[in-house]
Amino acid sequence: MSVPYARLPGWVEYGLIPLVNLAVAFLVAGLVVLLVGENPLEAAYHLINGAFGRGEYIGFTLYYATTFIFTGLAVAVAFHAGLFNIGGEGQAYVGGIGVALACLWLDQVMPWYVVFPLAIVGSAFFGALWAFLPGWLQARRGSHIVITTIMFNFIASSLMVYLLTRVLKPLGSMAPQTRTFAEGGQLPKLDWLLSIFGLNVGTAPFNISFLLALAAAFAVWVLIWRTRLGYEMRTMGHSPSAARYAGIRESRIIVITMMISGGLAGMMALNPIMGEQFRMQLDFVQGAGFVGIAVALMGRSHPGGIIPAAILFGVLYQGGAEIAFEMPSISRDMIVIIQGLVILFAGALENMFRPAITRAFATRGQRAAAVVQTKGA
């Protein structure tokens, strides 16, 4: 098969093209703002100000970013093996069980630094468990991973409604949620990190799981580019037949990749449950699993790209709340549109502007070559 596009310099491939795609997504979002009868520039101002204007706002931005780093990494790991894990939502939701169980069991007798590692293991375990089945079904029974993970999202949602209304709810309470955790189930805030920069975190729930997210990003980088397993995953992602001929056990890689992916998605639950609400509520994931898709696409499935992409979405979520507050005719659903547009332009239409950009660089390259030649003559 012919190679459809010429090779471009690294900064164009990983910098310019994503930026152009992002810019177009925002332009279209601006058109929607115009259609609603508001000023897009004013909205942009509120977005930036709402995300960075105060220490507290930055705290919220980074709190959201923490969540999106986890789900973005989850999608990215699966991408590398050529698997599209659309089930981050369900895996994160079920991962919450692990966090809640650890906290409900030990929060009154142990300090947070004992509960936290257990909660990490629990969330990763339940998330991985929820991804294991689709992975196993794909590897052994040939069911399509996209469809099964979608189905598992819905099954997870029903399961969690059942658990929260019947099993984990404290006696005599009406609200579908667990009891509030004692101090041992609450993560310390990272106020000291922001105060280095002279910022006051205020009421923002920016907590220690941010550092865990950064560590997870580093671990994913090591896994994908520095280990044998990562090599096998990437080989399978590039060419399943090559992987098969090289003696890589396909079904084993699929199952392991999905479990790592699900584990990362499950760890997302630590941030809202132990870091903000101190209880497990219905629907605490709030679409973060799907945001992970956009984050992974924007970040080109590389941890170095996923962290800034996650922060970008943190900006959208926190700044979007500010827009909704300042401009009543634009609700928070604007974020959902922008998210969709980013997925569309950075993911599905990623090659739309590539021919034009390639041509621009090709002509420049030729001209430079021509200049060199005339000088040489």
């Binding site: 098969m1 012919s2 459809p4 929607v32 259609l35 609603v36 009868g37 599209f84 659309i86 079904l137 029974r141 040939g142 069911s143 399509h144 996209v146 469809i147 099964t148 979608i150 189905m151 598992f152 819905f154 099954i155 029903s158 399961l159 409604v161 059942y162 019947r166 799907f290 898709i293 696409l297 005719s329 634009i330 609700s331 659903d333 604007m334 974020i335 959902v336 549109i337 922008i338 998210q339 969709g340 547009l341 997925i343 569309l344 993911g347 599905a348 239409l349 990623e350 090659n351 739309m352």
Partner: protein, 323 residues
């Protein structure tokens, strides 16, 4: 007699909730048979439902509403087509994107235009579909067995309901008995062969995608113009995914699609009916289990434990002409 009455009521609501599923699943049948995976059925249906509600509220005409629904749904289909056929982008990613854009846009635009918390105004008589009563339905209602079946099951539905079930044999005929259908199926199995025969793969896939858009338009219009009087935000509530599940459950065959939709609709109706009432032998079944049943069944089917669901071979793969 009491049991019979319950059964009729249950089947009646089964038909009512199955209609959007039938339309949407048939819509998915057209694109997926042509080799374009489409998980944006949900988004298209939602967009169509909003367009129908908004246009009917403004124009006070149900037909303008229906036309708007189809128009919006086809436009969204074309976006999906452009991304996945012309630009050869990832079809799943494109579908996810459309679902997001529509979910956000319907709320933002609805709030901006009507200021009723994301709803469209309640539709008056001429702006929504009316129930069709068969001749003599009321007269024979009291006749045992035949009466309720004729009056409540066959008669007393919306025009779109009859159209939805009529679309089942029509889709079958188009897909399996016309030249267009033959080529459409071929393009989903082996686009290279179709290309070699001198038929445009791209144009065929675009036509399949447009068919999908039209049918999703009907599904959306049914939701906001027939089932309820107006659009409510997020009113599809996962029906697009259920339709997708039904399509797979039906192994991409039109008549099976209808039965799968009726089965899933029946489970839905049963779940509402059984809420809080214990069953003999089993005891109380959690509603959540009933709600998850269509998804669980689909997973079990996909795993090959009850027959094998084999998707069109070229599904999900953009066609690249060899040079």
């Amino acid at each position: 007699m009491d049991f019979f009455h319950v059964l009729v009521v249950l089947l009646e609501s089964t038909i009512r909730v199955s209609v959007p599923l039938v339309f949407a699943a048939l819509a998915g049948l057209f694109t997926e048979r042509a080799g374009v995976f489409d998980i944006s059925l949900e988004g298209k249906m939602l967009g169509a439902a909003f367009a129908a509600g908004a246009a009917a509220a403004v124009s006070q005409s149900v037909w303008v509403g229906l036309a708007a629904a189809i128009l919006v749904s086809v436009l969204l289909s074309l976006v999906h087509g452009y991304a996945s056929i012309t630009q050869r982008g990832n079809q799943i990613v494109s579908g996810v994107a459309i679902n997001f854009i529509v979910a956000g846009a319907t709320v933002i635009l609805g709030e901006a235009w009507f200021r009723q918390g994301g709803r469209t105004p309640a539709l008056v008589e001429g702006a929504r579909f009316q129930i069709v009563n068969f001749p003599g339905a009321d007269a024979i209602r009291d006749v045992p067995i035949v009466g309720p079946v004729y009056a409540d099951l066959l008669s007393g539905h919306f025009l779109l309901t009859y159209f939805a079930f009529a679309m089942v044999p029509i889709s079958w005929w188009i897909l399996f008995r016309t030249r267009f259908g033959l080529r459409l199926r071929a393009v989903g199995e082996n686009p290279g062969a179709v290309d070699t025969a001198g038929i445009s793969v791209i144009w065929l896939r675009y036509r399949a995608v447009i068919c999908c858009g039209i049918l999703c338009g009907f599904a959306g219009a049914y939701l906001s113009l027939a089932m309820t009087a107006g659009f409510v935000k997020g009113m599809t509530a996962g029906k697009g995914y259920i339709a997708l599940a039904a399509l797979i459950f039906a192994k991409w065959r039109p008549v099976n699609v209808m039965f799968a939709c009726l089965l899933f609709g029946f489970l839905d109706a049963l779940a509402i009916r059984l809420q809080g009432t214990p069953l003999p032998l089993i005891g109380q079944v959690p509603v959540q289990l009933m709600q998850a049943l269509p998804y669980i069944l689909t997973v079990v089917l996909l795993a090959g434990f009850i027959g094998k669901a084999i998707p069109p071979k070229a599904g999900g793969v953009p066609y690249v002409k060899e040079r």
